[in-house]
């Protein structure tokens, strides 16, 4: 585990989490949540948890984002907060 690499990813992770909760467009929030999941997957791969990393990449980032986009498509795109 290279700590500089780790620290940069953790910084991006915090930014992605804040952005996905702050943005009022729900499609953008879903996409930024996908970015968050892929950053988390990168972090776990760097920490030596490769099995967790590829499960997160396939299931967490892939399937979750598809579910969120499908729900936003069939409901509303605007959020009040």
């Amino acid at each position: 585990m290279i700590w500089q690499f780790n620290l940069i990813i953790l910084g991006f992770l915090i930014m992605a989490a804040i952005m996905s909760l702050k943005v009022t467009d729900l499609l953008s929030a879903s996409m930024i949540f996908g970015i968050y999941s892929f950053l988390m997957c990168l972090l776990w791969a760097a920490m030596g948890a490769v099995d967790v990393a590829f499960t997160e990449a396939a299931v967490g980032a892939g399937a979750s984002t598809v579910f969120l986009v499908a729900t936003v498509y069939s409901t509303k795109r605007k959020s009040s907060d």
């Binding site: 776990w44 490769v50 967490g60 969120l68 509303k76 907060d81």
Partner: protein, 154 residues
């Protein structure tokens, strides 16, 4: 200096606490139901980050046995990348003995593999409920849904 070491060597844990609190805040304070579910997912991944951080060891590699590679002189470089050298030491019987400290602890990884799948299933059920609520009330904002439920009762 001790304080700096204490903070820097554990920044995974600090970030995990920050992410968990952000997820908890979103679940409580956001009015949009999809935002609440995104907050729930952030909470889950923060807890998984904590558990995976427990299994990390200094200078360890991924928990896959590199036994064949250590025997083959041509692949000597492919043996576990540690500062202590090879992942194997000779014991009295002339066979290689594995050193557990050269590999990350795989037990938290295996437990968290289940947690990821369960988390996605939870998110899917939550989003299905949100779609049903939108069909029923025409809104995904919590105050509007509550107001409609109140006006239907009265």
């Amino acid at each position: 200096m001790i304080l700096v070491d204490f903070i820097v060597s554990r920044f995974n844990y600090w970030i995990y606490i920050i992410l968990m609190m952000m997820g908890l805040f979103a679940m409580i304070a956001k009015k949009n139901l999809i935002k609440k579910l995104i907050g729930m997912s952030i909470f889950q991944t923060a807890i998984i980050l904590f558990f995976v951080s427990i299994g990390v060891k200094e200078g360890s590699t991924i928990p896959i046995l590199a036994h064949e590679a250590a025997h083959d002189p041509a692949h000597q470089q492919a043996a576990p990348l540690t500062e202590k050298g090879e992942g194997h030491i000779q014991n009295g019987k002339g066979r290689d003995a594995l050193r557990a400290e050269d590999y990350a602890n795989p037990l938290p990884h295996v437990l968290m593999l289940t947690a990821i799948v369960v988390g996605v299933a939870t998110l899917g059920v939550g989003l299905a409920v949100v779609q049903k609520l939108h069909q029923e009330f025409g809104s995904i904002e919590e105050p509007e849904i509550l107001a409609k439920i109140d006006s239907d009762d009265g």
